[in-house]
């Protein structure tokens, strides 16, 4: 099957482009989430409603969903090939110096995937009418969920894991695209680290404030 998806580099390119698209999307989602902190549910619900019904966003939504699916399926295919490339493992685990979180991309990715399913059950599938609930009032859904300690814990853990995933992937995507420069590559690495810390931190603050309120 993998042959039809092109060479190893082609598959990596698709993966990187999908990943970069997701990287662009996260700050948008975070921006909307900040409206949850207002005591008035209107702005958030309006934004959520806008996201759900404006046609441009509808196209964006399909693209986004496809992006997730492609990123995940391509990631799994590449990973399986990589496991098969070393059928007999070493007795002593490898001590080579590497980008640390790059070793666990499939696992951090799969944890994010599990979170996505929970997240879709709570919001997106309601909107699609697959799960029962009130799509007009995601504000109160979010507020209720964040009051549940177990949900809060899952949420915080998931975004920590996302931070790990991002800490390798930001620069890695640029490398895959073939963008490399003696001066700017170190800058991209720093930028990637800043992104990987502050985006999850942003997602952290919101539920914690709501929980403590």
């Amino acid at each position: 099957m993998s042959r039809y998806l092109g060479s190893s580099i082609t598959k990596k390119l698709v993966m990187a482009l999908a990943g970069l698209f997701l990287i662009l999307f996260l700050p948008i989602h975070l921006g909307i989430n900040f409206m949850l902190l207002k005591s008035d549910p209107e702005p958030f619900n309006k934004a959520a409603y806008f996201m759900a019904n404006f046609w441009v966003i509808k196209i964006f939504e399909v693209v986004l969903l496809a992006t997730f699916v492609i990123h995940i399926i391509w990631g799994i295919i590449l990973q399986i090939q990589n496991w098969l490339a070393r059928p007999i493992r070493y007795k002593v685990p490898n001590y080579s110096q590497t980008s640390f979180f790059s070793k666990f991309m499939i696992w951090t990715g799969l944890i994010i995937f599990i979170f996505l399913i929970i997240h879709f059950m709570n919001f997106y599938f309601i909107k699609l009418g697959l799960v029962k609930g009130d799509p007009e009032n995601f504000y109160s859904v979010a507020h209720q969920l964040f009051k549940i300690p177990a949900y809060l814990a899952i949420y915080l853990i998931s975004f920590t894991i996302l931070g790990f995933h991002l800490s390798h992937s930001f620069w890695s995507a640029f490398q895959t695209l073939g963008w490399d420069h003696p001066k700017y590559t170190p800058l991209i690495k720093i930028l990637g680290l800043i992104y990987a810390i502050f985006i999850p931190l942003g997602f952290f603050i919101i539920p914690i404030i709501i929980y403590l309120k």
Binding site: S8, R86, Y95, S96, W171
Partner: protein, 246 residues
């Protein structure tokens, strides 16, 4: 010093293989790792036992034959060396040393610590060359090359094809090796003639030979005895896209 070795023994490619423990006394810290193995083999032969099979040729870090996976790192704990250049001085008295062959689907074990690296030859045959007319060598200064480019080509060109990059990569990917070859030629005018086919054919061969996909982990760069840079892989990607678009 006295050391304990745990060495992978495998009669032939069909054999399942196992680790065998050997104790070796009076090892000088001035020995190289291969000299230490030589002395172990000497002992085994005197005892009428089958000596351990491992590769070596130049024993000075230029042929790329000798690679071994030692205590979880290819070519052992020293940075920027081949296994033949590894000094016993980095080990402590009483240390336990575990020696394994390169592990990857593309490099099957032939015997003990020797692996078949024909896959690298196939990669070179796929495109790691330039076509020139035979005859007298042309005058070296006839083709002007920017110094910075010549240096980068040289830095990529010193790859010795040892397979350390494949051995240490968690994906058993050959991207650093292929990128060194592609980069070296792509930077020089002589490499332009076949540039487009070279990169596509080499990547095709790389995929077919069973090497894994690069995930930019960087273990290859950290362990490469010639310290080939990861930026060659970005360059390889660039060359690949260029060849596809053009």
């Amino acid at each position: 010093m006295n050391i304990t070795l745990n060495i992978w023994r495998q009669i032939d490619s069909q054999d399942k293989g196992k680790f065998v423990e050997y104790k070796l006394d009076n090892v000088s810290s001035e020995m190289t790792f291969l000299e230490m193995l030589d002395s172990l083999n000497d002992k085994l032969i005197r005892e009428g036992k089958d000596p351990i099979a491992y590769d070596s040729d130049c024993r000075e870090g230029i042929c790329g034959m000798c690679g071994l996976y030692i205590n979880g790192r290819p070519n052992g704990p020293q940075k920027g060396v081949t296994t033949c250049q590894l000094s016993m001085s980095v080990f402590k008295d009483g240390e336990k040393i575990i020696v394994e062959p390169w592990r990857s689907k593309a490099f099957p074990v032939i015997k003990d610590l020797i692996v078949d690296r024909t896959a690298f030859d196939k990669l070179i045959q796929a495109g790691g060359f330039i076509s020139v007319n035979t005859g007298a060598a042309p005058e070296a200064n006839a083709i002007p090359i920017k110094k910075e480019k010549a240096e980068r080509a040289f830095d990529a060109g010193i790859c010795i094809g040892c397979g350390t990059c494949v051995a240490t990569c968690k994906n058993a990917s050959a991207m650093l090796f292929v990128s060194a070859k592609v980069s070296q030629f792509a930077l020089l005018p002589q490499g332009q003639v076949e540039a487009k086919e070279r990169v596509q054919k080499m990547i095709k061969a790389m995929d077919e030979l069973g090497f894994g996909n690069c995930t930019n982990t960087g273990a290859c760069e950290a362990e490469c005895p010639k310290e080939i840079s990861l930026s060659n892989i970005a360059h390889l990607n660039r060359e690949f896209y260029k060849a596809k678009v053009k």
